[in-house]
């Protein structure tokens, strides 16, 4: 972690001020998570993590002890305390994804990139982290890469995704098996005939 100074700039500054203004006088500490998130966004090009200097700045801005900021920052996996690669792959390993093959996805990523959970590739392109449920269970298994969800994965799709990201090709977030959101695979399966239930007669 660096010891240099940190200042919110540009739109991040505006967003931080807006977050603080949301809370009544004396309750500014409520904005800590929003500020940590903004600080991380502002540092996106530089490893997408929150530096010690940023946390010290936030503790000053919100008039709260540094250790309290640190507690919040270390509690949430969304806040990175170490630099991550250009593409931060957050693999969901919780029960529904696990049952649908998250462990195979992890094995695919690990063999493709040669890294384990919590590690970054040498070229600083990819970081793999295993996280708890990301709330996309109906499209399990899934990963989050930076800000986007990639769902309905298979090891082959996952490897292909990594290839395209590495080359800089465009990728489409969302379900990777062609379905729309979480509709059944192969189109609607039920209520094919008869009146739609919400239509009277």
């Amino acid at each position: 972690m660096t010891a240099e100074n940190f200042e919110f700039t540009g739109k991040h500054r505006a967003e931080a001020e807006r977050a603080i203004a949301k809370y009544p006088q004396g309750r500014q500490q409520s904005a800590v998570l929003a500020l940590l998130f903004e600080a991380q966004e502002q540092n996106h090009a530089n490893g997408h993590y929150v530096t010690e200097a940023a946390m010290r700045k936030i503790s000053d801005m919100l008039d709260m002890p540094y250790i309290r900021v640190m507690e919040v920052a270390s509690f949430f996996t969304q806040i990175n305390l170490e630099p991550v690669g250009e593409f931060h792959i957050q693999l969901c390993g919780t029960t529904p994804c696990m049952l649908r093959g998250a462990e195979d996805i992890r094995a695919a990523i690990e063999s493709k990139l040669g890294i384990h959970a919590g590690q970054t590739t040498q070229d600083r392109k990819f970081t793999l982290t295993e996280v708890e449920c990301l709330g996309a269970c109906c499209n399990a298994p899934m990963v989050q890469i930076n800000d986007d969800y990639f769902e309905d994965l298979t090891p082959a799709i996952m490897t292909d995704l990594i290839d395209r990201l590495a080359k800089g090709d465009a990728v489409t977030p969302g379900p990777q098996n062609g379905r729309m959101c979480s509709e059944p695979e192969g189109g609607p399966q039920t209520l094919q005939s008869g009146p739609a239930p919400q239509v009277k007669n």
Binding site: P65, I67, S74
Partner: protein, 693 residues
């Protein structure tokens, strides 16, 4: 407060509304196991050990520490559901707790150990790997073995709420949760209390590590003398050695906390001790001597001297009995030159209200405005500082200070640095005078830095003027307080150990010794004054005390006495509360009880004191000063006139304590205190941060 009726295990009990179920059970004498709940800290509710069954309520156990009582509630602590719940919680707690009780310092006094015996299973069903956590650095006093931690967060809440320094936190979450101070020493004078609070062996005492087992120790209830608060302590000894000092509960004084100095200076009792008499020889060097030789040397020096040529100074840790003996001896010798105010405090022993902490420590909790004059409370009386913080956290307490700008654990309005601001206040020209006037229970604390100066009497008079003018003195309230730092000071002032008519005070004694008017100076544990001047004056110096400190270096004859753990004695704290210190071990070598030394000396000097044993001395003292017989009582003093109005010097007030960890011969001899000095005082000064930042 309204009371309501609840049924606990089928029996009806009246409890106060607003209590928690756990408190209600406690009041009814029903035991509820707990780890995270502590009555002096906020409620966390994270250990789940205090589960009970409550009706009406959901059909599952409820955490009693966080559940308020309700009318007609039925509480069960002895049902199948409760047993099963406790059993389950205990099993979870033990999953990651190592089975290292045989090598754990907490063994024998561990809540987890005791409760696992009472509420746990007989064996473990857990076959997986246990987690291991890296130990943390928390300073020279707190030893950490973090694998043992059960995350009750008592330490986090203590340092945030009571100590007022938010430096410990719970990082990460779930299985990775860890207590940490981010590898910083916890910078509080009360930090070591987390060791007592820790229900397991995660935070243990570093200086006491692997020293003794609790069942080997003899426990003696006594009084601390490191400051004038008179914290109640328990001295644990093995054989003749003091192994550790722990706090003892006293709601009126220290609640259940003690300062780090009170707790850890005790290793200084083993070093630098005077264990035999010494007499300065012809060559100017101190040589070991026998008791009769030392006494004869004093008798020789005293022979032919007039009473006015003899002076006595009593030290900061002298008990009332020895001061009384010395006073009687000086009176018998005809000497008016006696003083107990080594720092030169201009306090008059005539008016008791003029030198007491009249509000009392517990009384702080009723105050609603506070003016601090020339005090650094964190260093001069950490326990009183903690009480002010407790009151401040409840809200509606305005605190202002005239004196050194120091770190505090509550918001302080810094009005000024010295007497000029005080004068403004006394003249009613300052805005804060209005705050005091409008307050219902206003308080004023005069610190040692305000009275231990040339114009001390004038400062005291100005403070008294503020007290009178702003209504600090009411029928049931006395808001005027003098803070002392010397444990023996109030007792000595009560006994009138100040100059008699025509006698000299400490400064006068030093000057007269230089001028040849005083030829014999008797120091009863006096180490905190200008002793080089006394030594160079040519007067014959006798030092009676327990450590080879400044006083002993200046002496021509050294009489080895007893330290505070080694004698029975009466101490009067800054509130005027009379408390008894009890002997926990014996003085080393040939050293003797202080009263016995003075009795023997009086015999040698041909003016025998009229008692032959300690009880006789106590009886005589209590006969003359009846309030010293009223143990544990802080008698209210009558308000009268004191101080001497006059011009005040414009020099700012300064706290006499430069280093909290070394203020007396015992703490100066302590290795642990030396380490604290390095970490908390010297390292900070080098970096230029901390109190001067």
């Amino acid at each position: 407060m309204a009371t309501i009726t609840v049924k606990i295990n089928g029996e009806e009990h009246e409890v106060e509304q607003g209590m928690t179920v756990l408190q209600a059970c406690e009041k009814a004498g029903v035991e509820v196991p707990r780890f995270c709940y502590h009555e002096r800290l906020s409620i966390a509710g994270n250990c789940r050990m205090c589960l009970v069954e409550v009706k009406p309520g959901p059909p599952k156990p409820a955490a009693s520490c966080a559940l308020p009582v309700a009318p007609n509630q039925e509480i069960f602590t002895d049902t199948e559901m409760v047993h099963k719940a406790r059993n389950g919680v205990m099993e979870f707690l033990l999953i990651n707790h190592p089975l290292d009780c045989p090598i754990c310092d907490q063994g024998g006094e561990c809540d987890l150990q005791d409760q696992a015996m009472a509420y746990g299973r007989s064996g473990s069903r857990y076959d997986e790997n246990k987690r291991a956590v890296k130990d943390k650095y928390m300073g020279p006093l707190i030893n950490t073995i973090m694998t043992r931690c059960i995350h009750c967060t008592r330490c986090v809440r203590f340092v945030a709420e009571v100590a007022g320094v938010e430096e410990i936190g719970l990082l990460n979450r779930g299985e990775n949760a860890e207590i940490s101070s981010l590898e910083k020493a916890v910078d509080s004078e009360l930090s070591a209390n987390v060791i007592d609070l820790c229900p397991v062996g995660a935070l243990t005492s570093k200086p006491y590590a692997f020293e003794a087992r609790p069942w080997e120790l003899k426990k003696t209830e006594s009084i601390d003398v490191m400051d004038a608060v008179g914290s109640n302590i328990r001295i644990d000894t093995r054989g003749n050695e003091v192994m550790r000092v722990l706090p003892r509960l006293n709601e009126d004084v220290n609640e259940e906390w003690i300062s780090d100095k009170s707790r850890y200076a005790c290793d200084g009792l083993r070093r630098q001790r005077l264990d035999r008499p010494y007499v300065r020889g012809e060559d100017g060097k101190l040589k070991p001597a026998s008791w009769p030789d030392a006494m004869t040397a004093i008798a020789k020096a005293a022979s032919g001297l007039k009473g006015t040529e003899i002076a006595a100074i009593s030290g900061d840790q002298a008990c009332a009995e020895s001061v009384y003996s010395l006073k009687k001896l000086m009176t018998a010798l005809g000497s008016p030159n006696t003083d107990c105010r080594q720092d030169g405090a201009k306090l008059d022993s005539g008016v008791r209200a003029g030198y007491l902490f009249n509000t009392t420590i517990a009384g702080i909790e009723q105050a609603d405005a506070l003016l601090i004059v020339g005090a650094n409370l964190r260093w001069e009386a950490p326990i009183i500082n903690a009480r002010i913080r407790k009151r401040w956290l409840h809200g509606n307490l305005k605190v202002a200070s005239v004196g050194p700008a120091v770190q505090t654990t509550y918001d302080v309005d810094q009005l000024g640095a010295g007497p000029e601001t005080l004068k403004e206040l006394a003249d009613g020209k300052h805005a804060f005078a209005e705050v005091l006037k409008n307050a219902e229970r206003p308080m004023l604390i005069v610190g040692p830095g305000a009275v231990a100066r040339e114009d001390g009497a004038a400062v005291l008079a100005a403070a008294k003027k503020i007290a009178d003018m702003c209504g600090l003195i009411k029928d049931d309230w006395n808001g005027f307080n003098v803070l002392h730092t010397a444990a023996g000071r109030v007792g000595a002032l009560d006994l009138g150990f100040t100059p008699e008519e025509g006698g000299a005070d400490v400064a006068g004694i030093v000057a007269d010794a230089k001028g040849g008017k005083i030829k014999l100076v008797y120091l009863l544990g006096a180490d905190e004054m200008d002793l080089t001047a006394v030594k160079e004056s040519g007067a014959f110096v006798v030092y009676q005390g327990h450590h080879g400190d400044a006083g002993a270096h200046a002496a021509d004859v050294i009489l080895p006495g007893a330290a505070y753990t080694e004698k029975n004695g009466t101490f009067v704290n800054t509130e005027g509360r009379v408390q008894l210190a009890r002997r926990a071990n014996f003085p080393p070598g040939e050293a003797k009880d202080d009263w016995a030394i003075l009795r023997a000396l009086s015999e040698t000097l041909g003016k025998p004191l009229p008692w032959i044993d300690f009880d006789g001395l106590r009886q005589s003292m209590r006969g003359e000063f009846p309030h010293l017989a009223r143990i544990d009582d802080a008698e209210a003093a009558t308000w009268a006139d004191f101080g001497a109005a006059g011009p005040m010097d414009s020099a700012p007030f300064q706290s006499p304590i430069e280093n909290f960890y070394m203020t007396d011969p015992i703490s100066r001899a302590s290795e642990t205190m030396a380490e604290c000095t390095q970490v908390f005082v010297l390292d900070r000064q080098e970096k230029g941060t901390g109190t001067n930042g």
